[in-house]
Amino acid sequence: MLPFLKIMLRNLVLGPSTDPFPFAPAKTHENFRGCAVHDPEKCILCGICRHVCAAGAIQIRASQDGSGMQYSLWHNSCVFCGMCAHYCPTGALTMSNNWHLAHTGAEMFSNCISNLIHFGECAQCGAKIQPRPQAIIDTLGVRSPDRFLLCPKCKRQSIGRNVAQPRSIHRQENL
């Protein structure tokens, strides 16, 4: 007659199913998408994160002394979608499983990642280029490590030389 009575009695017997949080730490799955973490050591300032961010939470602007770029990610604008981490080519941006983000209103604007990323130097002419940290050279720059470290101008020259050389060899073979 009252099908719910059974559940009610079972509830009484089983006891509370309440999570001990906040008196004990809560269980967090490792897959949980918490706040984004930025590793300045891996960032190459490609800007894809800013491009895919629907919430405008990422800003990149030149630092005052001109030695690099200021990378900012404001957690109070971030919608925790993880698109930036998904598209980040170097793994500089990752989603941690940290969700302890509650803060008071006074800290509203300081709840922000702010990292200085130094420009790289062109291995040939010394011009400022996108940063080239070692970790990235090892992954993205394996195909042609030399060229990876050049400014666009030197890179063009280098490609020009490279293209020119095999062609001449090729022609010789043809002859």
Partner: protein, 151 residues
């Protein structure tokens, strides 16, 4: 003595929820936090109330759309002092995804002071609980202040 009173009083935070045009993710999570056994905020003395006049802690979600603004402000003013505001999700703070929409006047802070912010989209219930606990601290400080001023 008064401090003890404030301490006791702050163990009964009643919650009221305002939806200022949110995508209802935060609202569902607030309902989950406030009402289900798994999180059971009642053991912290919280009660979910239907009238703004009974509330102490206000949870706000959503980016405050133009059409809902006046109504939200009216309801907010109906909440008796001392009260604390918790922004659930990032929308009330910055508009989140919806910033720059033509009906979204970001900067809820301009109309309603946000005392505690729980970022997330939506934040998980435990995070909302953390926010409520923080809000209770703010509230206690405010209570002590007002009680001491009176005496």
């Amino acid at each position: 003595m008064l401090q003890l009173l404030c301490k006791l009083a702050s163990r009964s935070p009643w919650i009221y929820r305002i939806n200022a045009g949110s995508c209802n993710g935060c609202d569902v999570e607030m309902a989950t936090t406030a009402l289900i056994p798994r999180y059971d905020v009642e053991r912290l003395g919280c009660k979910y109330c239907g009238s703004p006049r009974h509330a102490d802690v206000v949870l706000i979600s959503g980016p405050l759309t133009l059409r809902v603004r006046d109504k939200v402000l009216r309801v907010y003013n109906e909440i008796p002092h001392p009260k604390v505001t918790v922004a659930v999700g990032v929308c009330p703070v910055s508009g989140g995804c919806f910033r720059d929409g033509y009906t979204v006047g970001a900067d809820i802070d301009h109309y309603i002071p946000l005392d505690v912010i729980v970022p997330g989209c939506p934040p998980r219930p435990q995070a909302i609980m953390e926010g409520i606990l923080k809000a209770v601290e703010v509230w206690r400080a405010r209570l002590e202040e007002s009680v001491c001023c009176h005496s």
